[in-house]
């Protein structure tokens, strides 16, 4: 993966389309600092931020809702409360690192209400929730802090239709709040339906930038398979 250059505006949903293995997940992980990168610059609101590890990204207001909820998104054996609190402990805990249960309760309950997370209670294990509600827990933990950019990597995979619609609504909500949304998906209809702009990736490179008005499934597929066609 190299020479990736992208800009994302506030209040915009930028879709990233492409086939499996096109390097979309790697791109989001590299931006987030999850995997080491050789070089690269990231600017947020015009200021350069150095991101070496996820904590740097989180502090800069750049967050990731990763692919594969159970593997990367949630501490499945821990409670919903602990999962939402985890990346927000800098707010919840005192400067000595002591957790303030009252503050924690406030933040967690607000998150649960904002996203209408359905569960037996905040003490329920994260893996006892439905896929859609698990996804909402992940999104809510990031929005409990003032995140400016939210990257979604295949957020609707393996969840039911009603929850999918809710995820779309959440993304549109974020857009209205002026948050930049980056949306990676393999499903062309949803990426066409929700994005403002679409980047198409193939073999670790961006092969085309499309305005949603000019994008159709055929056009996207053409650029998503560009590399392979060259070989033929």
């Amino acid at each position: 993966m190299r020479d990736i250059n992208l800009s994302l505006y506030e209040g915009e949903i930028l879709g990233i389309a492409g086939l499996m293995g096109a390097g979309r997940t790697e791109t989001t992980r590299a931006i987030f600092g999850a995997d080491p990168k050789e070089s690269g610059q990231i600017f947020i609101e015009g200021e350069e931020v150095k991101i070496q590890r996820p904590l740097d990204a989180i502090k800069a207001g750049l967050v990731l809702v990763p692919e594969d909820r159970a593997k990367n998104g949630l501490c499945t054996a821990l409670s919903v409360r602990e999962n939402i609190a985890l990346p927000n402990l800098d707010i919840i805990a005192s400067q000595w690192g002591v957790v303030n249960p009252k503050k924690e309760k406030e933040i967690v309950e607000e998150s649960v209400q904002n996203f209408d997370i359905k569960m037996a209670g905040v003490e329920a294990r994260a893996d006892s929730l439905s896929g859609g509600n698990q996804q909402k827990v992940i999104v809510s933990k990031w929005l409990a802090r003032n995140s400016k950019v939210v990257m979604f990597d295949e957020p609707t995979r393996g969840i039911d239709v009603a929850s999918k619609v809710e995820i779309y609504e959440i993304m549109n909500d974020l857009k209205r709040q002026g948050i930049g949304v980056l949306f990676v998906s393999s499903e062309l209809p949803e990426i066409l339906g929700i994005s403002d702009r679409i980047l198409v990736m193939a073999d670790g490179k961006i092969t085309k930038e499309l305005d949603v008005k000019d994008a159709t499934q055929d056009v996207i597929l053409t650029y998503a398979t560009k590399f392979e066609r060259k070989i033929n």
Binding site: A34, K71, C75, A77, G97, V98
Partner: protein, 348 residues
């Protein structure tokens, strides 16, 4: 309404992580105590209880360290050797005329280095915990042997009387100092585990390392902290051992890592990581201690005691695995069942 609130509170306490097993094991512990008390009228005398508590202390201390490490999803096999290293280092220094408290300080630093090495080998060099700590286990035992040229030390002498009283023989407010030390260390580490950011990170890393990493948790420093706590606890037990016998013995602490595992898992700390509380470790160490002490009273030889403890550890770990597996199948199958309970909650 008031009643409902009360019920909710009770439910919340019960639902607290690992509380279920702690309660079950506590019932088992009480049963054991009753059986041994019926078998032997001296079992429940003040003197035996006091001795029993002092006997439990080393297992509980090493158990606290092992619990920390297990919660991060790792294991520490170097515990027993670090106890031996601490015992030999401190005793050797004292017989060479070093001030006992300076010796204590040097001993702690040396043992913490082993903890640091464990943590970095596992989190940075990505060695499996089992292999890394097996290596440091041998290294620490080697250090225990080499510090005094392959001999146990002579008596640490009268200059170390204050040290011996502080760690073992002295009493404060009617309780042996060893017990006070254990209580203080337990309180500190229990607070750290249950009420602080570091504690949350330990559980998160043990539950799902990838998710913890993507939530901004520093995996390496969290795992290293757990091993440092373990090394600190083991070092303390080594010092207690030196104070007890008044000399350094090279094979001190032999097998303690397994007693520490026993105390942890009997008390509900899962070997799979992310679960358990230090209250459980207290109960687990007590079960271990009562069994040792009670069987000793009943005239069982050491060999039998070892076999009993081993069997109990295997059974508890097996139960833990079975219960966890069932839970997983359960949540997978009854996804819709959960939704019904949510419907009810919404109405209320």
């Amino acid at each position: 309404m008031e009643n409902k609130k009360k019920q909710g509170k009770l439910k919340r306490i019960l639902a607290k992580r690992g509380m279920g097993q702690v309660i079950t094991v506590t019932i088992g512990l009480v049963a054991l105590v009753i059986v041994f008390a019926l078998l032997n009228p001296y079992f429940l005398t003040g003197r035996n209880i006091s001795n029993l508590l002092r006997q439990i202390a080393p297992t509980l201390l090493t158990g606290i360290g092992q619990s920390y490490v297990l919660i991060t999803g790792n294991i520490d096999l170097s515990i027993g050797s670090v106890v031996g290293m601490s015992c030999m280092t401190s005793a050797t220094l004292m017989t060479k005329g070093v001030n006992p408290w300076v010796a204590v300080l040097i001993t702690y630093l040396a043992c913490l280095l082993i903890g640091l090495l464990n943590g970095k080998l596992i989190s940075k060099a990505k060695l499996p915990a089992f292999i890394a700590t097996l290596g440091t286990m041998t290294i620490a035992r080697g250090i225990a042997q080499i510090v005094n040229n392959n001999y146990n030390t002579d008596s640490i002498g009268e200059a170390a009387e204050g040290f011996m009283n502080f760690f073992y023989y002295g009493k404060t407010l009617g309780l042996f100092n060893t017990i006070w030390i254990t209580i203080v260390i337990w309180l500190v580490f229990n607070f750290l585990l249950s009420r602080t950011r570091t504690g949350r990170h330990l559980y998160a890393v043990g539950s799902n390392m990838h998710a913890a990493h993507l939530s901004g948790v520093n995996i390496s420093s969290t795992v290293t902290k757990a091993y440092l706590v373990s090394a600190f606890c083991s070092a303390t037990v080594g010092l207690i051992t030196t104070a007890t016998s008044g000399m350094g013995t090279m094979d001190a602490g032999n097998g303690y890592e397994l007693y520490a595992v026993a105390a942890s898992v009997i008390g509900g700390v899962s070997t799979l990581g992310g679960q358990g509380i230090l209250l459980g470790t207290v109960i687990g160490a007590s079960v271990w201690g009562v069994l040792q002490n009670g069987l000793q009273f009943a005239g069982a030889p050491v060999a039998i005691r070892n076999i009993v403890i081993g069997v109990i550890v295997i059974i508890t770990v097996l139960l833990d695995l079975v219960v966890r597996q069932n839970k997983k199948v359960g949540t997978g199958k009854v996804g819709t069942g959960k939704t019904t309970s949510i419907g009810l909650k919404h109405k209320a």
